[in-house]
């Protein structure tokens, strides 16, 4: 049953995503991509629990920590570079 709930969430958020992103103008497509990329760094949340649990044994916590490292690059780099780009989009003074 859990899987069905998760699929519900998936379905609804895909619809929301389509609705929202269709309205983004072509001018902003590059910042949209890098911003979306930063959002995909959300894997960091999944990686955190895996990295912090040393009770589970094996090298899973090392793998998790590496995933945290990678996803953090994505989050920090993605948001900052998007902000840098968006700061340049100006109206005529």
């Amino acid at each position: 049953m859990d899987a069905v709930y998760l699929l519900f969430i998936l379905l609804l958020s895909i619809f929301v995503g389509f609705e929202l992103i269709q309205k983004v103008p072509a001018t902003l497509h590059t910042p949209l991509m890098s911003g979306a990329n930063a959002i995909s760094g959300i894997t960091v949340v999944g990686a955190l629990a895996l990295a912090g649990s040393d009770s589970m044994g094996g090298y899973s916590s090392y793998l998790g920590a590496f995933a945290v490292f990678l996803a953090t690059i994505n989050v920090v780099g993605g948001y900052l570079v998007t902000d840098r780009m968006l700061a340049m989009f100006k109206k005529k003074q």
């Binding site: 958020s13 983004v24 590059t30 949209l32 990686a47 955190l48 920090v76 900052l80 570079v81 968006l86």
Partner: protein
């Protein structure tokens, strides 16, 4: 989820808040004036999600987390600060790849951390591994192509189609072994770790094979698609970990990538399958010969036309990015405006190497986004412009797409530069564009070619204006 504790409740409640902020942030990204705020909201959502996750009861040691986050943040800040705006396509594809690799590692760690899985969990974990791996290696190849570390053209070899079909079959077989976990098959012992490593290797190989045959002008499609994959990989990881926020955020990214892919494909009048597999098909040669002669013009002579022009439309392409001519163009734009002319920019959806590439370059040069027009808007009134200046664009202004049935790009929507009263094409030489097709625009009676580096040519014109 084993049992619901108060902490779990708080964490999940905060995830709902984060999801709402992500959605609201994307909504604000719909207009240039509010986009920056939208990005900030999205970043706040991410911060909330990360901070509350730290309260998870399963997390007992923070040492490694702290080191990993610190190192990641430093690298992220450096990359975002140091990257040149012209290198944005490379940056985005690298970030895509890193996101994919992170999902792959999450899936791998999930497998190592637990011993018993349901079939459903195994399927989604395999998907996270596969999509993550494909995103990573595919993005690396895209990055290498964009930064010209390997050839930007389509790479094909004999038997590629057969090889790829076999690869897909082997991946499906690996998926079966991964999910069903048989210990014996046809009398052979199967070690699960071997299956895991092989699956990862296959995913990486598949990513390489997918992007290698795709040529330079099709890069915008590939980057959008990989962008979508990096979201879907996060989504699959969310299923494996039963984590709602991963699914919501991942599918938002997935949807965004799919929409961009679709826009790019439409702008090239090609289906996604055609772009992905065109490298496998034989090149259709047309023996159409374009009659006529090209008429070169010096920058000095072009200046006299520009000085008299009432309206100028600039059509930039990848060549402008290569020549870094955006700042010179902005300077010329100011001079033209002081001279009383109206200056507009026409941006084709697939101009450059990624969606919105030209817009970012022009924004960097301080060109107001209100002066940038999409193809359809400008085509309605292109015949009213005195001069159309094509800077480093080729295929996106090729009238063959409109008037030559049988041309490989026939039917592709293009900016009708040839309908303007005068056309200046700033170009290095007579080489054809990435599609490798001759451009009849260059032979039209109203077209003049200004050969040379675009930045230098614009510099000449600017100096003429100043004198």
């Amino acid at each position: 989820m084993i049992e619901t504790t108060t902490t779990d409740l708080i964490i999940n409640f905060s995830y709902v808040l984060a999801a709402a902020l992500f959605i609201f942030g994307l909504k604000l990204l719909g207009h240039p004036s509010s986009a920056r705020k939208g990005n900030l909201l999205s970043a706040i959502a991410m911060l909330i999600a990360i901070v509350v996750t730290m309260f998870d009861n399963n997390i007992v040691s923070f040492q490694m987390i702290a080191i990993a986050m610190l190192a990641g943040s430093i690298l992220g800040v450096l990359a975002a600060r140091l990257i040149a705006m012209t290198a944005m396509p490379e940056m985005v594809s690298l970030l895509n790849g890193i996101g994919g690799l992170a999902s792959l590692f999450v899936a791998w760690a999930t497998v190592e951390a637990n011993s018993e899985f349901s079939v459903f969990t195994m399927i989604v974990t395999f998907l996270a591994l596969l999509i993550g791996g494909v995103t990573f290696s595919g993005s690396l190849i895209a990055w290498a192509k964009l930064s010209e570390r390997i050839t930007g053209r389509s790479v094909t070899f004999a038997g590629q189609a057969v090889f790829n079909s076999l690869l897909v079959l082997v991946i499906i077989f690996a998926a079966y072994l991964f999910v069903a976990q048989p210990t014996m098959l046809a009398g052979v012992n199967i070690d699960f770790n071997m299956v895991l490593y092989t699956a990862m290797g296959l995913a990486l190989l598949f990513g390489i094979m997918l992007v290698l045959p795709i040529g330079g002008a099709d890069m915008p499609v590939v980057i959008s698609l990989l962008n979508s994959y990096s979201g879907l990989a996060a989504c699959a990881a969310g299923f494996a970990l039963h984590n709602n926020i991963l699914i919501v955020a991942g599918s938002l990214v997935g949807a965004s990538g799919i929409i961009l892919t679709n826009i790019m494909c439409k702008a090239m009048n090609r289906s996604l399958t055609n772009v992905l597999f065109s490298g496998f098909m034989p090149v259709t040669k047309t023996d159409m010969v374009i009659e006529g002669e090209v008429k070169p013009l010096s920058a000095e002579d072009a200046y006299y036309v520009l000085e008299a022009a009432q309206s100028v439309v600039v059509i930039p392409g990848y060549g402008m990015a290569v020549a870094q001519a955006q700042h010179a163009m902005k300077e010329l734009q100011q001079l033209l405006e002081e001279n009383g002319a109206e200056v507009a920019y026409a941006i084709h959806p697939v101009a450059g190497r990624m969606p919105g590439h030209m817009n970012v370059l022009l924004a960097e040069a301080d060109v107001s986004y209100e002066q940038l027009f999409e193809m359809d808007e400008i085509n309605k009134r292109i015949q009213n412009f005195d001069v159309a200046m094509v800077i480093g664009a080729n295929d996106v202004v090729n009238p063959a797409a409109r008037e030559m049935k049988g041309s490989p790009i026939y039917g592709m929507p293009v900016i009708n530069a040839d309908l303007a009263k005068n056309v200046f094409v700033l170009k290095r030489g007579m080489a054809s564009g990435f599609a490798g097709i001759d451009n009849p625009l260059f032979f039209k009676p109203n077209c003049r070619m200004i050969f040379g580096d675009a930045k230098e040519t614009l510099g000449h014109m600017i100096r003429q204006f100043s004198d």
